[in-house]
Amino acid sequence: MDWIDALLIPAIKSLVVIVVLLLAFAYMTYVERKLVGRFVRRYGPNRAGPFGLLQPIADAFKAIFKEEVIPTEVDKWLYVICPGIAVAGSLIVFGVIPVGDSFMAWGRKITMVVADVNVGVLYVVAMAGLGLYGIFLGGWASNNNFSLLGALRSTAQVITYELPMGLAIASIATITGSLRFGDIIAAQKTLPLIILQPVGFLVYFISGMAEINRSPFDMPETENELVSGYSTEYGGIKFAIYFMAEYINMIVMSILVATLFLGGWQGPFAHLSPLLQLVWLVVKAAVVLFVFIWVRASIPRVRYDKWMKFGWKFLVPLGLANLAVTAVVVALVA
């Protein structure tokens, strides 16, 4: 193994991933606005470019050229750095998710994952926890009660829903016998895990939506109670970066759901071409994303205390029961 394998190729892969994700973020905003518009019988963005396709670019310019305002009473250092932490946490998660099998290029076998590590799924959980600090500390640094409350809520919510999520992942690990994404995908060659783990899927899906603070579970930024939660004091490019983190989280979550429960890049004829594998994954993730947006457009926001109760008193026990049943069944079958 020389330095090309050790450093250069991962670096290139990372760069590709980051660029793609940033682009995907930009057009996710467009897609979401379009879709939500349709759900409520509006058009959505349709001014900039054909079908409003240039709208994200316009938004980016607007954010970049807005005046930089840093309120006087904030903790400046943290206030500036926190959006970065948030988006880094979102991006870094993607490093362990395979988007395809592998292909040959320039005489090297290149796997379609930045690093397929042994404990990949746990890595995802750990990194999601780190990204949280961006929101938490950002809210605190803003020196604003609404921000702080939003930050606290966000943290509590993420910690709460990490538990059922972990339990669902444990069920998967029990069945596949591995925490490596490669193995988990391989285990779904014949049957996607959603068939074997319907309850686990449900638990994971709900927890996932809570993890990424999606409406109707966007407790940290409930406009009618907290103005805009942790991002109240943020504007311009810094707000855009938070926004970016949120959408990237959403994309990553959809890909995680697709990978863990829907068979990942596998599909009919997927073995023919790496490109086809990528397409399968994107299609599956798109379906999940569509559901995310659909839920947002259809269901009103829940109340915070009820939402926490739901997590602790329903989802965690459900996840535990699911894990117990899974363990017993696996022990009996194996």
């Binding site: 050790a6 903790d75 943290l78 590590v117 042994n118 404990v119 746990l122 890595y123 959980v125 750990a126 990194m127 926890g129 780190l130 949280l132 600090y133 938490f136 500390l137 605190w140 020196n143 702080l148 606290l152 943290t155 509590a156 910690i159 990490e162 591995s178 925490l179």
Partner: protein, 180 residues
């Protein structure tokens, strides 16, 4: 054990980060920055664990320490006056001086002890990094934990249960006293 130059560089880098984090815990003006320093320290240590072929423990370090414990600390900070200006609290007086001096002596003693170690002495087990890479760290650790150390493992789970109950009781106290 030998290390490649890349590993050496990374060791030194992470070590420096860990020390910087630890120092900022005790030197930071505001407790939130202390917590941040602690977070940095934990993450650096997690990276070192992974490099020392203890991947699972590295990730567990991230999840448990960075993901939960530091968050809990920050929560406690927010609950008891996160908005207050910095606590003026590094210490003054003889106690601190004596303490610092003692710590230096202690460090010197340990350093002397470590340097006096007879190199790579000690029984060599069977779990080499190659074995770990081959069988998987989490699998090995899981087998050891659930076969050889099942009793301590169960005891740890009981301990955690006690922790949960204790935390709930401490949290309930307020609600009751408010009702009174």
């Amino acid at each position: 054990m030998t290390a490649t130059p890349l590993e050496t560089v990374l060791f030194i880098a992470f070590g420096a980060v860990a020390i910087a984090g630890a120092l900022s815990v005790i030197l930071a003006r505001h407790a939130v920055y202390s917590a941040l320093g602690m977070l940095v320290n934990f993450v650096a240590l997690a990276a070192m664990y992974i490099m020392l072929s203890a991947e699972f423990l590295g990730i567990a370090q991230l999840i448990v320490y960075a993901g939960a414990i530091v968050v809990l600390f920050l929560f406690a900070l927010m609950l008891i006056g996160g908005r207050r200006p910095a606590e003026q609290g590094r210490l003054t007086g003889g106690l601190a001086a004596a303490g610092s001096a003692l710590v230096v002596v202690f460090l010197a003693e340990i350093a002397y002890l470590v340097m006096r170690l007879t190199g790579t002495a000690g029984a060599k087990g069977t779990v080499t990094p190659d074995v770990i890479a081959q069988l998987g760290h989490i699998q090995l650790l899981g087998a050891t934990l659930l076969l050889e150390y099942i009793l301590p493992f169960e005891l740890a789970s009981v301990l955690l249960l006690v922790g949960i109950v204790g935390a709930v009781m401490l949290a309930r106290a307020r609600r009751q006293s408010r009702q009174e």
